[in-house]
């Protein structure tokens, strides 16, 4: 059974506003829709830059990867970016094996991530 997905949101107001999504649980075929919906709502409300905190995500399935790719595409169209923060070990392994680490900006700390936008 997959662990339920929880998403908390915070807004960083600065020269470049960034929306941080703190995700916890499993990001798989049962839960990716929640992330897509949440991100879709935020983008529709004007969010351009999103930082996805993945340190509490312990399983990332292909549906989760597709959701991230779709989010990145939408943000790029809106003139913004999706970046990743501190993925857990199993998620980092998946990102590396499937080559996502080369196409996503991944940061170890929140400060470094926020500065990079």
């Amino acid at each position: 059974m997959s662990n339920e997905l929880r998403i908390a949101v915070s807004e960083e107001k600065g020269d470049t506003p960034v929306t941080i999504l703190y995700v916890s649980g499993d990001l798989d075929s049962k839960t990716y829709g929640d992330l897509e919906t949440k991100a879709g709502d935020l983008i529709a409300a004007g969010a351009k830059n999103i930082l996805l905190d993945l340190h509490e995500v312990h399983f990332m399935g292909s549906a989760g990867l597709r959701a991230m790719h779709a989010m990145a595409g939408k943000l790029k169209d809106a003139g913004g970016q999706l970046k990743l923060l501190n993925p857990s070990d199993p998620v980092a392994r998946v990102l590396k094996t499937l080559g996502f680490d080369k196409f996503f900006d991944i940061h170890a700390t929140r400060d470094a991530a926020l500065k990079s936008f």
Binding site: S29, S62, A67, H69, G99
Partner: protein
């Protein structure tokens, strides 16, 4: 609170009580209690014991099995009569779709009313029969629809089989084998073997399109076709000029497939992990691209000698992706084995995964035996899975090089 007359009027509006005699409706309405349920709240779930039926005064409820909504019922409709009038448990779950007001009628009150108003029984039985005939009609309709869909999927399955090689190339000194067991009617996995005459090589491909079912199956045909077409017809040299041509062909096939899908189907975010290798049968040289796929193994009698890790990202997502070309050798007497994660993720009845270690042991042992390698692995997996449903497509390919 609703007055007795109001309640009677309401009940009368439903088809269920339309022909129930006045006295009986009046008696029933005396026993009805009003229930208010906020939107989203569950009233009862499938399998619960139940002794009441409900009449919708206002709002909308949904009848559902787990997450799947079967039907929406609105103002004036009756539900829950099966469990209320018999000893059956609830046949489906019911939740409030909007805020709802319901009238609840308990079994005891209904039977007491029927006992004192025998003429009411006839109208209620008629109403039940009417509902039963509606349900049967709908069930038949759905069965026919399901059959039509099933037939469509069977056609899809047949067509999809043509996207796998019908026969494997006969290559002197080599034994090739491939197997694909779909988890559903159609699969998102694929494999391919084909000769590339201009390079005097054989191509072997294994891939796993993300997701399962029809969507993945449609993309499987695309990935498989583009890779083969890119290798055979695209941009390469006309004459065999050397090792670099193998690398060039691999890169061209993967790059063009990736660019096509990433740009043309950008919105769908579909991707595949793919291993594509070209083997020179004479020398055993293997040049390959591993695009985010489980590392294939090359081994001898006593174990895996080398594994072919990823050389680039999955195919179909990132237009700018570059694929490096790896190099290996299948020596005389050695075997090459590749698989999709359906094999390592296969679960037994206890929910445990087969695992990479166990697959590796099975392959090494199987390679030492007399039976064709993939037959051995397939039976080991079937034994492990037992009676549970196969969770994902399971695909494997092997290429064994003779000693001479």
């Amino acid at each position: 609170m609703l007055s007795l007359d109001d309640t009677g009027q309401l009940l009368r509006r439903s088809a269920f009580f339309r022909s129930t005699p006045d006295l009986a409706v009046r008696a029933l309405s005396g026993h009805a209690t009003v229930i208010r349920l906020p939107a989203g709240e569950l009233l009862f779930k499938k399998g619960d014991p139940g002794s009441a039926m409900y009449f919708i005064v206002d709002g909308c409820v949904q009848v559902h099995h787990a997450e799947m909504v079967v039907i929406l019922l609105e103002k004036g409709e009756v539900f829950g009569e099966v469990a209320a009038l018999s000893s059956e448990t609830r046949t489906a779950s019911v939740s409030a779709r909007t805020d709802v007001v319901l009238l609840k009628l308990e079994r005891d009150a209904i039977y007491a009313t029927l006992a004192s108003h025998p003429d009411a029984a006839q109208s209620m039985i008629e109403a039940l029969c009417h509902r039963e005939s509606e349900v049967i009609g709908e069930k038949l309709g759905r069965m026919i629809q399901a059959r039509v869909l099933e037939h469509e999927l069977e056609i899809g399955q047949k067509i999809q089989r043509n996207f796998l090689p019908a026969t494997l190339p006969a290559v002197p000194g080599w034994q090739l084998d491939g197997t694909l067991q779909p988890a559903r009617k159609v699969a998102g996995d694929f494999y391919d073997f084909f000769m590339v005459p201009k390079l005097q090589c054989m191509g072997l491909v294994i891939g796993d399109v993300c997701d399962k079912g029809v969507g993945a199956a449609l993309f499987m045909t695309l990935f498989r076709s583009l890779i083969r077409s890119g290798a055979l017809y695209g941009g390469g040299t006309e004459r065999f000029a050397g090792d670099d041509d193998l690398a060039g062909t691999l890169q061209h096939a993967l790059r063009s497939t990736n660019q096509y899908i990433a740009s043309t189907h950008r919105g769908s975010s579909m991707f595949a992990s793919v291993f594509f290798g070209l083997i020179e049968p004479q020398s055993g040289l293997l040049r390959y691209v591993n695009a985010g796929h489980e590392a294939p193994w090359i081994g001898q009698g006593d174990g895996v000698r080398t594994q072919l890790s990823t050389t680039g990202p999955v195919v179909g997502l990132f237009e700018e992706a570059e694929y490096e070309v790896g190099s290996a050798e299948v020596r005389p007497g050695e075997w090459f084995f590749a698989y999709t994660d359906g094999a390592t993720d296969a679960q037994n009845e206890a929910g445990e995964a087969y695992s990479e270690d166990q697959l590796r042991c099975t392959v090494v042992q199987g390679a030492a035996g007399d039976r064709p390698l993939l037959d051995t692995v397939r039976s080991a997996l079937a034994g492990f899975i037992g009676k549970t449903d196969q969770f994902d497509d399971i695909t494997m390919i092997s290429a064994r090089r003779g000693l001479h």
